[in-house]
């Protein structure tokens, strides 16, 4: 049948492995040589592996372009492992379904380790340690000499331990009263009250942000007061130095607004790792009463309407939970203590641990409240209430600080790490330190002194810290456009206007702020990775279980709205369609031999 057709038979004599058609320097012979390679030295080349695709790194460049990290010298061995795995799967009863449903997968880009870990799942060999195999080379030591002394600021220590009963009892009476009024609201009003971290940014005058819609493109127009230069599209001329960074753009082509309901938070059931909706409902009510009035209304509203903070808390808690496995006494140090919204879910999860909960200590660090109230104190009381109802031994201390850089490890009264395991948590906070020289280095150094099991970090995925105004403008244009588009699903105009106003302030700070006033210094995962690696931290990978739960959380809270979870070298990114917006990463100290699950 074949022979009768017009055909082009090809005897592919050269399909043996020896022939490689890597473009690179090959040039000239055919038009596609230029696209077959990723030579990192030239600007504008594709960089899937920003820090690793060096010619000397030995990575197979073609596979690297497709997202797989395999050393050329390891290729044969990886192939052999694949064959071995296929055979083992064939021999082990239910091997495939075990690997599919029970096994947690990590960092699939590292093919060799991925295959190896599946092999050892089915065919345990005592000598192989997948986590050790994936470990990065030992970090360089940090030179402390450049750290500048922090400015003085007020730090008050508010100490809440169960041992101070009288104190506790007084508070309890007050709380009881409030609780009667607030805890058992009917479900329609018990919304998950999300409050974000109040920034200390000083915003310029302009508030109103309009997003105008052309037929096909959504553009951001900042009103004239925000920036001295006129911002009409025609004035966007040549940009500054072309960056090598990626500029992901998602446009919405719409003739009309799609109206989607964004449902409020239903439960933290997924966060608890057990599908217990009664528990989740109770949790929601408790979260409701944690809310305190004196917060930045716009921020709070923004985080209620969007799933970002939910995702951040959820994924960070997942990593912390896993890091605390088997520990009897745990201590969370929260750099982003605001209303403590992240902690009820973690506490519940700890309460439900097989074998019982650990003793849970929380140190909450936050800036002074705008109305000078003791808000950190209040949050602590409420969490103590919760702890009591779920029978978790609880200890709390709040620290008010103008900047994280004002902290020293000695202030925290840390216990020896054999006695108490520490997790440090920072959600949308660390980037603010980049406004002052030396601050981030000081803080990371202090974190190291805390000897944490894990550092959980959530940050905006954007490059908003370029020195050039025009670069920041371009980057933030794309980022916030996407955020605005994701808001189109908001149920009412009021929500949208409030969210846009909040984002508008942030945009002003990004684009028009300068010096120490510009605190919204968002940087990308690649930049944070680089910084943390250099400081002596190594990644703790978030796996397929965390990914799945985060995806399911999104389906619960923001179903059909275009939000997506993506895995990137062990980190989880939340994005809108194909544009990542925030990233959760987890870290441990490089020289520790602790293996995170």
């Amino acid at each position: 049948m074949k022979r009768e057709h017009h055909q082009l038979l090809l005897n592919a004599a050269d399909t043996s492995m020896a022939s490689s058609f890597t473009g690179g320097g090959g040039g000239g012979t055919s038009g596609y040589s230029m696209v077959a390679t990723t030579t990192p030295t030239t600007t504008g080349k594709s960089k899937l592996w920003d820090d690793e695709a060096q010619p000397g790194g030995g990575m197979d460049e073609l596979l690297a372009a497709l997202g797989y990290k395999v050393r050329s010298s390891d290729m044969a061995e990886v192939a052999q492992k694949i064959e071995q795995l296929e055979e083992v799967i064939g021999n082990v009863k239910d091997g495939l379904s075990h690997l599919a449903s029970d096994t947690v997968h990590y960092n699939p880009s590292d093919l060799s380790t991925w295959i190896e870990s599946m092999l050892s799942e089915l065919h345990p060999s005592p000598s192989f340690d997948p986590m050790a195999a994936a470990a990065l080379p030992p970090p360089q030591s940090l030179d402390d000499s450049f750290l500048t002394p922090a400015e003085s600021s007020t730090i008050t220590s508010i100490d809440f331990t169960d041992s101070s009963h009288q104190h506790h009892q007084q508070k309890k009476n007050i709380m009881q009263k409030r609780q009667d009024n607030m805890v058992f609201e009917d479900s329609s009003s018990s919304e998950y009250d999300l409050k974000a971290i109040p920034g200390k940014a000083i915003y310029s005058q302009i508030q109103q942000i309009e997003s105008s819609t052309s037929r096909e493109t959504k553009r951001l127009k900042l009103s004239s007061g925000c920036n001295p230069e006129s911002l009409s599209p025609s004035s966007i001329g040549a940009f500054g130095v072309p960056t090598e960074s990626t500029r992901p753009v998602v446009l919405v082509d719409s003739q009309e607004n799609g109206i989607r309901l964004v449902h409020g938070l239903m439960a933290c059931a997924e966060a608890v790792q057990h599908n217990n909706f009664n528990l989740a409902e109770a949790l929601v009510k408790q979260i409701g009463f944690l809310a305190v009035s004196q917060v930045d209304m716009l921020q709070m509203h923004f985080y209620e309407t969007c799933p970002y903070l939910k995702f951040a808390h959820f994924t960070a808690n997942q990593a912390i939970l896993e890091a605390f496995e088997g520990k009897k006494r745990v201590h969370v140090i929260d750099f982003s203590m605001n209303q403590g919204m992240q902690w009820p879910a973690l506490m519940q999860a700890l309460a439900l641990r097989p074998g019982g909960p650990p003793a849970f200590r929380l140190t909450g660090i936050g800036p002074p409240a705008s109305d000078n109230s003791d808000h950190l104190q209040e949050v602590g009381w409420k969490l103590a209430q919760l702890a009591e109802t779920i029978h978790v031994e609880f200890e709390y201390r709040g620290f008010v600080a103008n900047s994280l850089a004002d902290l020293d490890a000695s202030m925290l009264e840390l216990r020896p790490s054999e006695v108490e395991s520490v997790a440090v948590n920072s959600v949308f906070e660390l980037h603010k330190l980049l406004a002052r020289p030396g601050a981030i280095e000081k803080v990371l150094s202090v974190v190291k002194q805390m000897k944490p099991e894990i550092l959980t970090l959530v940050e905006q995925e954007a490059n908003h810290n370029c020195p050039s105004f025009l670069d920041r403008f371009t980057e933030s244009l794309h980022y916030y456009s996407t955020l605005f588009d994701s808001l189109e699903g908001s149920v009412n105009t009021h929500d949208k206007v409030m969210s846009e106003e909040y984002l508008g302030k942030q945009i002003c700070n990004v684009v028009a702020g300068e010096g120490v006033d510009r605190v919204e210094r968002h940087e990308t995962l690649a930049q944070w990775r680089s910084r943390l690696n250099a400081t002596g931290f190594t990644p703790v990978h978030l796996g397929s279980n965390a990914f799945k739960q985060a995806s399911m959380l999104l389906a619960l809270f923001a179903s059909g709205d275009g939000y997506r979870v993506e895995e990137n070298k062990g980190c989880l990114m939340l994005g809108w369609h194909t544009r990542p917006l925030i990233v959760t990463s987890a870290w441990k100290l490089g020289n520790k031999s602790v293996i995170a699950q």
Partner: protein
């Protein structure tokens, strides 16, 4: 027999470069994990494992890309790839949809493969392939992120393809200067090739002009077990069993593989006689177990008096076009380039 191993594994290793063998074998491994015997699909694990790549409005190797939600109702996204201008400042958001200046600009609407269930427009393997197509064909490529099985069965993917076709056709910035019309070609591999055929059908029925169809290892089938399926079962990464699974996941429940979506020239197929169907370029790999169906497709087109060119690559396996380090890749790219420029 699927999975009966030693001899078979060595055979496939002989005919592809080692890194390609590793790549395709890893996919095969992952895909085996994702298909459940009860017909459901482990979508969360699939999305976790799939390597994705962001669009990039900054030109890389002469190509820039951006994503568009072309239908907010269905959240249908497409990734647009364009040749970067020779010189000048970096493009801003306004320039992305700037009108093309070419007299003749081929616009290739691309449907990625994955047997209707796997991959996305932003999968790294397809992002890379589309970028290559832009360079080689001096074309704009629109990669459609169509709905996938088993969550969305027939005709979801075809509907999305049709939406994309109408959208592309109505973009003034994609028109060729010569005639102020959009010069549309449809291209796709595996299930994408199948989608090409079906979207072309709809286009013809509705009076839309498609200048050509490019089908790379297109996914077709039928109830019958053909000689090539029996001969090559399990030998080159693919098994009859997995093919059956994907058809069961895509076709309407209760339908068998003689459904016209699967078997367009089978007992339930319709004749293309006398229809102004676009010319077709069909690429068939000699180690693809479904080649008999692909060849039957070509024959069906010929019998209906339609213009079709068959490119039969004797020593090629599935997925050869994912990496450029083989002669099949070069040959196919040359052919595609000629195909879209001969207007």
């Amino acid at each position: 027999m699927a999975g009966s191993n030693d001899v078979n594994l060595n055979e496939s290793k002989m005919v592809v470069p080692l890194n390609m063998w590793v790549l395709i074998s890893s996919f095969k491994l992952a895909y085996n994990l994702l298909r459940r015997p009860d017909g459901t699909f482990n979508r969360h694990l699939a999305e976790f494992l799939d390597r994705k790549v962001q669009a990039n409005a900054n030109p890389v190797d002469g190509v820039f890309s951006f994503d568009v939600i072309i239908d907010p109702e269905t959240n249908l996204l497409s990734r647009i790839y364009r040749p970067a201008p020779e010189e000048g400042p970096l493009l801003n958001i306004v320039d992305l949809q700037k009108p093309a200046t070419s007299e003749v600009l081929p616009v290739i609407i691309f449907f990625h493969g994955g047997s209707f269930a796997h991959s996305s427009a932003n999968s790294a393997i397809y992002d890379t392939l589309c970028r290559r197509l832009v360079c080689i064909c001096k074309a704009v490529v629109v990669s459609v992120n169509y709905r996938r099985a088993p969550e969305d069965r027939y005709p979801g993917a075809y509907d999305d393809g049709w939406t994309a076709l109408k959208w592309v056709n109505s973009r003034s910035w994609l028109q060729s200067k010569k005639d102020m019309k959009v010069h549309i070609f449809l291209a796709g591999d595996s299930s994408g090739g199948n989608i090409v055929h079906n979207v072309a059908l709809r286009a013809v029925e509705s009076g839309f002009e498609v200048l050509g169809n490019i089908l790379l290892n297109p996914m077709f089938g039928g109830q019958e077990r053909t000689e090539s399926e029996k001969r090559l079962d399990g030998k080159y990464f693919v098994t009859i069993q997995d093919r059956d699974w994907y058809w069961r996941a895509f076709l309407p429940e209760g339908e068998d593989r003689d459904h016209p979506a699967c078997n367009p020239f089978g007992p339930k197929g319709k004749s293309l006689q006398g229809i102004a169907f676009p010319k077709s370029l069909v690429v068939v790999s000699g180690f693809d177990l479904i080649q008999d169906w692909q060849l039957a497709y070509v024959e069906g087109l010929e019998k209906a008096g339609q213009e079709v060119k068959l490119l039969y690559l004797e020593q090629a396996t599935i997925g050869f076009y994912l990496l450029p380090n083989n002669d099949h890749f070069c040959t196919v790219m040359d052919e595609i380039s000629d195909f879209v420029s001969s207007d």
